[in-house]
Amino acid sequence: MVSLSLWEADIISTVEFNHTGELLATGDKGGRVVIFQREPESKNAPHSQGEYDVYSTFQSHEPEFDYLKSLEIEEKINKIKWLPQQNAAHSLLSTNDKTIKLWKITERDKRPEGYNLKDEEGKLKDLSTVTSLQVPVLKPMDLMVEVSPRRVFANGHTYHINSISVNSDCETYMSADDLRINLWHLAITDRSFNIVDIKPANMEDLTEVITASEFHPHHCNLFVYSSSKGSLRLCDMRAAALCDKHSKLFEEPEDPSNRSFFSEIISSVSDVKFSHSGRYMLTRDYLTVKVWDLNMEARPIETYQVHDYLRSKLCSLYENDCIFDKFECAWNGSDSVIMTGAYNNFFRMFDRNTKRDVTLEASRESSKPRAVLKPRRVCVGGKRRRDDISVDSLDFTKKILHTAWHPAENIIAIAATNNLYIFQDKVNSEMH
């Protein structure tokens, strides 16, 4: 088996805030999960204004070998999803290409002391020295975070898992691979229900695959999945056991003037996210982000160009495989701003109300503590301002595929290859 170089294993492959925003989980190519916790803001230490520190690190998945197919199974964490917190412990689901695992994260800050039969190091006491009985008491200790695997949901998928989504009922979740979507119960690992199957009888007839899926945030019977053809299908689990027939099909007709060899690739949806309100969906394809209204299937209500200057470079981007990059997208807490990544460590934000957009860069130089991010601009010929970057000098190896937005506040997490940037907007919550 080929193992990853030390550098490659650190490449962040997913980023996810929990439901309160107190915790931030990242997964990487080496199968590890790192959880950050936000320090509570305190007047005593004004410098640590709610910053995120490492809370726990654990190895979630290991590389495996499928002997039957002679295939290596990558340990890369494709997605992490937090479960809503139901008690003192936190739980999350992490998945690689084939196996989903449920992890429980607990804190231990007390330990019992004063045992009768063993001493503080745990060694059995000489009974002749024991003259009286004592009741062990709990004494405080340094905080220890313990992570344990509670469930392993294996053998549910033939193809590569691309997404998982926890249902609002907090009892079930779904996992999607290229051709199928399965519904699991969080407590049952030995079976799952197949709810979508788009595998054709003859694989030669294959024309599209599932690229992402998500449960509706409020209606536990509804979910959406996106396809490589650029369409979205909203499915209702009450309608039938096998949701091959969609309730709604969201599809925008192709613009014939933009047709090229690569039209199909760039229309493939790489990510789909419901808005917090549940009224809208956000999709990302190679060049745009689109907002869809659940009540309108014919076309998106808003389309934003992420990096349209790449449209004339598609052939080169096909050659160097960049055209296959899967960018994610995110809503802010109030669904008024959407965010997505791009190349050269740039990421873009679009304010849906003011229709203004901004390009920012995640880099060490621009990210000294409390520095203000400077808007960047890509120039496409013509007049060039001083700090502009020309399209030809963009670094396509620096791509921001994974971004996350705090559920309530203006705090964003940006994964730039093997670095995690967390930006907080302290001054105001409005977009400039």
Partner: protein
């Protein structure tokens, strides 16, 4: 004409990707391979439907007359070293059109751009510098050669079918592309005869 050249280039890049995907860690990525095969299909359609003279594969200085081709025949300058712009995307710009036999697939690639005027229409931003291009193209055409042996001789219109895996002789090339009608499958393996060669990319996995 420009579409035909670009189409062929895209075909060879796509085949290279499919070939390389077989060795990828984690197994073949179905999504990516599907997209590549769709590009392959589009490029092949353009390649076969572009009504311009076929791409002669051995740099023969006097291409045979084509049906539908204007009386002027191939554009002037055929057989001469093409303008530098045309060669920028292909290796070895100084090589004259007729060269000693090299790697099989490379001949196919090198001989094609001997059509002046093609260079003008190649997309400006995508031509690597000469030296780098030589190495890049070498790898890609090497992949094409490998794929040809994998898929048998199911490539019609690109290379003439030959038991040696594609080696052409200059004098036998007169009827090259015309002998293979678009869509005709030249294949010595009966089982593949009925399968569209491009869709075998998916089936092969």
């Amino acid at each position: 004409m420009e579409f035909k050249l670009e189409a062929h280039r895209i075909v060879s890049i796509s085949l290279g990707k499919i070939y390389n995907s077989r060795g990828q860690r984690g197994g073949i990525k179905l999504h990516k391979n599907l997209l590549v095969s769709l590009v392959l299909r589009s490029a092949r359609q353009v390649y076969l439907s572009d009504p311009c003279p076929g791409l002669y594969l051995a740099g023969s200085p006097v291409p045979p007359p084509q049906p539908g081709e204007p009386a002027a025949g191939p554009p002037a300058g055929w057989g001469e070293p093409p303008p530098p712009a045309a060669r920028a995307a292909w290796p070895e710009p100084e090589t004259p059109p007729e060269r000693p036999a090299g790697p099989d697939a490379r001949r196919a690639v090198d001989a094609e751009p001997a059509a002046p005027g093609a260079g003008d229409t190649l997309q400006g931003g995508e031509e690597p510098a000469g030296g780098a291009a030589a190495e890049e193209e070498e790898m890609e055409t090497g992949n094409v050669a490998n794929l040809i042996s994998i898929f048998g001789s199911s490539f019609s219109g690109l290379l003439r079918k030959s038991p040696a895996g594609g080696r052409e002789e200059a004098e036998a090339e007169e009827s090259g592309p015309e002998a293979a009608e678009p869509g005709q499958i030249c294949c010595d393996q009966p089982v593949l005869r009925d399968i569209n060669p491009w869709s075998t990319a998916i089936v092969a996995f």
